[in-house]
Amino acid sequence: MIRSLPNSRRYLYSYKLYMGLYFAFLFAPLLVTCVLAFNDSQFPYLPWNGFTLEWFTGDLPERVGLFHDRMNLESIWVSVQVAFFVTLLSVTVGTCAAFLFEQEEFPFKSALYFLMLSPLVIPGVILGISILLFSNTLGLYFEIRWGIDVPLFRPGFWLVVLGQFSFIATLVTLVVSARLRKFDRTLEEAALNLGANRFEVIWHITLKFLRPAILGAAAVAFLMSFENFNTTLFLVSSDTTLPINLYLQVRDGSTPVINAISFLLIVGTSLMAVINLYFSRKQK
C-alpha cells in the first residue's frame, strides 16, 4: 500500500509500469517535437533522413531556418516585450495587493479579496472578450465626446499587456501574500520604535524578506505571459505574439521551423524550471 508497509511484488511492478506509461504519455509529444527539429526533411514527419541543423541556421529559398526567419523572430521579440511589461505591472500591483490584504484593515475587505481571486475562475477567453468590449466602448466614448482617438483602446500591444496583466496579477498576489504571512511583524515594530516610518520599514525590511517570493512570482508571470494564448487571441492586432503566430502557422500547414522554435522553447523553459526549483529548494 505505502512504502512502510509490506507490498506484494505484483503491486509494485504494476505500479511502476503505470508510472512509466504515465511519464511516456507526458513526454512523448515533447520528445517527438524536439527530435523532428533535426530531421533532414521538408516536413515534420518520419522517416528519418539524417541529422541537420538547417531548420535553425539554413538560409536557402526552400529552407529558411529559424535564425533567418524574420516573421518568427519578430514575434519572439514582441512576446519578450509583452512579457516584460506584464511582469513589471503585475509584480508591482500584486505586491501592493499582498500588503493591502495582509497588513491593512478597511471596510469591505473580504469582498475585495473575493474580487481579487475571481480572475482565477474566469475563463481566459471571456476575460479577453470583455476587455476587448470595454476598451472599444471607451474608445468610442472618447471619440464621440471629445473627438480624441486613443490608440490604447484599439487591439494591439498595450491591450495585450493589460489583458494578460489582469489575471497574472492575481497569481503574483497569492504567491507574495503566502510569504508575507510568514513575516515576523515584531521586526517591523522594532524598526518603527527606532524611528523609521512605514515606507522605510517596507523598503528596508519587508521587501528584503519578500525578495525570493517576488523573484519567483516574476519568473512565473513572465512565463505565463510568454505563452498565453486564450486572452491574447482577442486583443492582438498586427504585431502578433509568438503563440498566436505559431497557431496561425500550424493551422496553415507546418514546417520543421515550428519544431525548431518548439525545441528552443522546451529547452529554455526546462532550464528555467530547473533553476527555479533549485532556488526554491535552497530557500527551504
Partner: protein
C-alpha cells in the same frame, strides 16, 4: 481583524488600495458589466440599438448553439473526472510509495512539461497522431496497419488532449494534500485488517477532498474555456463553445451575440464552481491556496 478597532485612512492604505482598485475595477468589474450590457443590446428593424433579450433567445432557439453548449459542459465534466482518475495514482505514488530520495526528481519530471507552452504540447500531439504522423509511421513499419489512419479530429483524441493539457492542475493540489496525510493512519488501518479499497475510500479520499475540489474546479474551468486544444486536435468537428464565441466575434462580427454566448459560458462556469464549493462546504479563498 478586530471589529472594534476603528479603521483610519492612512497614507500606506491609500498607496496600496489605489493600484489594486484601479486593476480590479478597470480590468475586471467594468469589462464584465460591459459584457452583460452588450449581450442585452440588439438592433430593431430600423437599425436602431435597443434593449432586448433576442441574443439569448437565439441561443435557445437554434439547436446548434445550445447543443454545443451542453456538449462542451458534459465533456468538460468528463475530462475533469478522467484527469482525476489518471492523476490520483500518480500523486499517491510520488507522495506515499516511491523511496523518498526519488520524490524531488519525480516531482520535477511531473511539472516540467507544463512549463512549455500549451501550443507546443498540442503541436507535439498533432505530429504524433496525424495521418502522416509518427505513430502511423511505426504502426505501418511494424505491419500492424496497411494504410495510415487519421487519428486526429475525433472526440476521443480531443478528450485525451484536454486531459493532457490540464493534468498539472489536478496533480499538484493532489500531491500537496496527500503530503499532509499522516502515514500512520494508513498503517493503523492496515494493522486492523482493512483492505486496499477500504483504506482508499475511508481514509485517503476523504483526506484528499480539499485538493480534489480545488483541482477539479481549475481543470473544469480551464477545459470549458479552452480554445486551442479543441480547435487544433478536434478540428472542424470539435463543436466547442469557445469556438462559437470566437466565430461571433471575429468571423461574423456580431459582438452582441458573442457577448451573450460569453456571458452564458461565464454563468455556467461560475455555477458549477459554486455548486462544487457548496457540496463540499469549502470557500474559494481556501481553495485558491
Amino acid at each position: 481583524m478586530t471589529m472594534n478597532r476603528r479603521f483610519q485612512i492612512t497614507l500606506p492604505l491609500i498607496c496600496f488600495l489605489t493600484p489594486v482598485l484601479l486593476w480590479l475595477v478597470l480590468m475586471i468589474v467594468l469589462p464584465h458589466m460591459d459584457l452583460l450590457r452588450m449581450s442585452l443590446r440588439a438592433e430593431d428593424d430600423f437599425g436602431n440599438a435597443i434593449w432586448s433579450f433576442s441574443n439569448y433567445m437565439a441561443f435557445f432557439v437554434e439547436p446548434i448553439y445550445w447543443l454545443t453548449f451542453v456538449r462542451t459542459a458534459v465533456y468538460s465534466i468528463l475530462v475533469t473526472l478522467m484527469t482525476f482518475i489518471v492523476a490520483m495514482p500518480v500523486a499517491f505514488y510520488i507522495t506515499k510509495v516511491v523511496a523518498p530520495r526519488f520524490q524531488g526528481f519525480l516531482m520535477m519530471l511531473l511539472l516540467m512539461p507544463f512549463w512549455v507552452s500549451e501550443l507546443v504540447r498540442v503541436y507535439g500531439w498533432m505530429i504524433l497522431l496525424r495521418e502522416s504522423g509518427v505513430i502511423n509511421h511505426f504502426l505501418i513499419r511494424l505491419g500492424i496497419l496497411n494504410q495510415p489512419i487519421e487519428m486526429l479530429y475525433n472526440d476521443v483524441t480531443m478528450i485525451m488532449g484536454l486531459v493532457y493539457t490540464s493534468m498539472l492542475f489536478m496533480a499538484v493540489p493532489l500531491v500537496s494534500v496527500l503530503e499532509s496525510l499522516d502515514d500512520s493512519l494508513i498503517e493503523a488501518a492496515y494493522d486492523l485488517g482493512a483492505n486496499m479499497g477500504t483504506i482508499l475510500f475511508r481514509i485517503v479520499i476523504p483526506h484528499a477532498m480539499p485538493g480534489i475540489v480545488s483541482g477539479s474546479i481549475v481543470v473544469f474551468m480551464l477545459t470549458l474555456g479552452n480554445y486551442l486544444t479543441p480547435n487544433m486536435i478536434g478540428g472542424k468537428n470539435a463543436l466547442w463553445f469557445t469556438e462559437q464565441i470566437y466565430n461571433q466575434f471575429i468571423a461574423s462580427f456580431n459582438w452582441n451575440q458573442g457577448s451573450a454566448f460569453g456571458f452564458l459560458l461565464l454563468a455556467l462556469s461560475s455555477l458549477v464552481i459554486w455548486v462544487g464549493l457548496k457540496l463540499t462546504r469549502q470557500k474559494l479563498s481556501r481553495v485558491a491556496q
